[in-house]
Subunit: 345 residues, 4 copies
């Protein structure tokens, strides 16, 4: 399976370039019988749109998701669901310059190294715009997970190293960067509640391992903590181990340094991820770079770019976690002989 | 593909439990014509064995790897390579207690939740011993990568938060923990040199995403940084972006905050990972836990356990990175029409 | 990977229902640098269209294939290629009757059994119309194979058991069936020339095994012969074995009962498949069947349907073989260490 | 996934060469809680062993299957099951001749073409002996299917084109061939009863398509019929379509030309396959062939070889069908939202 697909049973394949006529996703393996309409995507797409606030550039409408297949009379049929998002902005003439040079912090050089060719319009395939398709697919996964009692709380945790508890300082940090034609790094926290114990696989497909792939597949992610994360590397075992106690007849943990996953399998506690983003690579401040022809130049990237990634990327993290968790839950249904026999009797 | 396999072309499937008669791996998709003998595994297995030093318990022989298939007259044939490591220690009687309770920080409870059954002997399938099979498979991948000019430098970077530049303080930290029946967290740094630009895929199979899955699939890993990692989230774009310059006719970067990967594809700079391990969960210090029958108890884990994970896990990180990188390189061979035509003309 | 995808490196995922707004395919893993334009699809789509001749119903335009992604300035970029074919005919009101009953020889009942829901418009997902997307994807594969010196000769071999050498009798057979509101079975022969020796894998992914899956995934296929096929089961070994002889310094076979594949790997001779189709299941002659509500009824299917499948399905067989063979050839590029080292030096 | 693995959830990977120290399989994704002991393999291995009767050469013991992992106290744990079959016969010196030439009808030449190297001992990886591992894995699948009410009836249907209803004539046919140092083709029929309606996927992973791959992956298979098979291509639609009728409140078919599968999904009728084998390629009658050095020679293959394949291959067909069907049934468990919600409530 080529690199634009993820998942084993609930699989998502994204397609499309930033400035092509449209982009989207094919969602395979969605269980039949789920009510699904274009409105289901709205709250997710809304969280991803530029809202003209302090942390994004211009105010635009949220992307509209069209369903071209897999839904009949408002209900999924089990067939592949083709999600299509039309482009409203295709001014490819702006990208003549990008075509002839390599932007620092972007994939321009590496695409040319791999493929010998690159669609330079708006970043082409490696544009952040590709994540719109992920968010649309994630909306489907999240709807199913909600029906199973699973909910997400995903927030911007820090901007430029400044915690969300100090929003004024965060805003000042972004304003200062923007004024200098610069950008800042950021952090997202995602907490998944209601996941039953027993989800995930023991070895290479540990639930945390698959979440790690899903999260690191988002451009600009540079680090991930699960549970106590990096701090765990400085702790004592007696502090880090989460004690187990019975509570109302159920096995519970009195702390959650594990972040809800032990040995790659969910333990019933909330799953906790911290995701760290690099600063937006597109900055107007001059940078040293090279052209395709091997000339050293100074580059100042024109156009408006978000000065910080997390505010719009939080929903992308949530979408990737939803897709990954749902897939693990569908795979899990055949883990026990008793389940298989119950299903087929 | 069930959860014990990883890779698309060069695939590794591990099998076996800690205290079963043997464990090992099947390596599929290894190119034919590679000289391979049991001695090739020795330096890798040696790095994983307990050496009786300050950071591991008892001194034992390194695991011996037998090749049962896929090699003829000392050369790989392209057929699956079955690697077998016999167990020397099968005292399953020691594990009666483990069978009836859930050790904090271990997968005992989650295995029971998922499967309704668990092999309690030495941690069964989720034992660190499973990584012996990974290291054996990684030795094959690393040998091929060496032939392609790629080398690894993998080190313990910190123990209990103390940097490797202060070995005396590290040792004291471990000694103190051990004396108290406790353990400490740790950190590994892995640096991969010689990777050509162009390896990896743009979307879900980004090279960093697949390395993340590979690394988080090692039990006890709680965090990962690629390149600048978490620090990137506190930086300005103008500091974080790696400037490009021509050097001897080649595109080079004058810094490497990206950690050798841009847009999921290698950029020709060294790939840099920091991997963070939790403290060893098996400690003799008393802990609160529960039995399978739902009784609250205090547990003091008997037997000798390494007080810190990184020293023996460093080679596991290297093995997982080698397996993942090699697979991406084999997949990459058909990325361009010119390569396909050259190959078949 | 859910059931609408095929292939490991060159992967094709089809989506869409017969009477939805559009259907199509995502082609992943297409090598970058292939010139590709909508015109490349025309000859393939033309072979699949109803041409109003003796063997199909009404004359209509060939389907138009739009490329929504993966191509920049007329050349593939290595990104997923989204192929879209808009529907021109969406009279879903015709399908009220189909919705409430199960047509014999169709997937109506089995879809309801599996999914509990079904898109009844024109056969929905299991319509022969889905193969339009396969043909479009196959056109890409075939273009690459042509560049590698590989060509296809795919023909209708028999209709109603009558060989293509007797076209008049074939026509009479079809006319007679049509007049009675009936249909007839048919056979396609596909011969692939120019395949180099060495393509395919030894065990489960034998080239013939993967071709078999590809061919049997076409609705209405009931049998397949590779090489001598069923006749081989009646032969002596001394007759069936293809003798090897040197010819101009090359190993050649003086017969080809193997059909170009030995041990799952191509031997350099033409690959030969005979594919057998059942009669078109949609017939106007009355048939016994049941409704969804469990009532026995007599059904006479209205509307025009091709009385025989092979004439329009031949190009579908060719498309599936092209997709499968190309994928095997891309996978094959890393089979030898010498190839890997040559590629990366 | 390389070519020695098959399946999505219940996956089987075979390893080992004919004359290596051992061969076997790794079975991943087996549900936990299945009682499994070495005795479970005996009846299957017994059916595959040479029994010294008219259709096989020498009488030998059935292969002994050892379980090295994945079973604890006689019950599967959900972990990979390593099955090991030790070789009793490793006289590799016999194979010096095979190493230097290409046997007609064998994979010798194609292996060399693909890999540039080949294990010549007893056919190495492409030996029929590899199927012992498949049969062992199939025994596990079949045991699970039995618990779900599914049974197999697999028989030799014909030898040298002579039907099983005439055993005397069959025996004479084999005797005549053997006397002349020759071999004959054969046919197996496999009938699977008790499969519920709704198993399989609509497009590329049609149940018949996956069975076709599974069956054609057995060396020497040259043709496959599903249901009416090749005869369907000569029939009228009104004869071929299976009428549907209600019987005791259940949808039933009054004939089964479809062979139990409609649109790739099981319809509740028995699944019916006819599998056609070429004659054993190893014959002592002289044949024309070439050496690796490009010399034309005459070859008379020494040693004892079964003169006909079906008698020992019938159980291999059954094993491959069992593995494939079980995998499709496990995948199927998440097809409906109602099933997913029921499972997790």
């Amino acid at each position: 399976m080529a690199g634009s697909s993820i998942g084993k049973i609930f699989t998502v394949t994204t397609w499309g370039e930033s400035h092509g006529p449209a982009l989207g996703a094919v969602v395979e393996g969605c269980p039949a019988g789920l009510p699904l309409s274009p409105e289901d995507f709205t709250p997710f797409m809304e969280r991803r749109r530029p809202n003209g606030g302090r942390f994004s550039t211009k105010r635009v409408e949220a992307d509209l998701v069209e369903i071209l297949s897999g839904v009949y009379e408002g209900v999924t049929t089990g067939a592949p669901i083709l999600l299509l998002i039309r482009s409203t902005d295709q001014h490819s003439s702006d990208y003549d310059e990008t075509a002839r040079l390599y932007r620092p912090g972007h994939a321009d050089y590496t695409f040319d190294a791999k493929y010998g060719i690159r669609d330079p319009r708006g970043g082409g395939r490696s544009s952040a715009r590709e994540t719109a398709a992920r968010v649309a697919a994630g909306a489907i996964a999240a709807k199913i997970l909600r029906a199973l009692g699973i909910s997400f709380d995903t927030q911007v945790a820090a901007i430029g190293g400044i915690s969300a508890s100090d929003p004024e300082k965060q805003a000042a940090c972004v304003d200062a960067a923007r004024k200098e034609g610069d950008s800042v790094g950021s952090e997202v926290i995602c907490r998944i509640s209601g996941v039953p114990a027993g989800i995930g696989d023991p070895v290479f497909d540990k639930l945390d391992a698959r979440l790690a792939q899903a999260v690191f597949s988002i451009g600009a992610v540079k680090a991930l903590d699960i549970g106590a994360g990096r701090e765990a590397s400085k702790m004592r075992g007696s502090d880090h181990n989460d004690p187990l106690r019975m509570a109302d007849g159920i096995v519970t943990k009195t702390s959650n340094h594990a972040g809800g996953i032990l040995g790659g399998i969910s333990d019933g506690s909330p799953i906790l991820l911290h995701v760290y983003f690099k600063p937006t690579p597109s900055i107007s401040k001059p940078q040293e770079t090279v052209t395709k022809d091997g000339e050293n130049i100074d580059l100042s990237i024109r156009g408006r770019h978000d000065p910080v990634i997390a505010p719009r990327a939080a929903v992308v993290v949530e979408a990737m976690c939803a897709v990954t968790l749902l897939d693990a839950m569908l795979v899990n249904m055949s883990a026990k002989m008793t389940s298989v026999i119950d299903f087929y009797k």
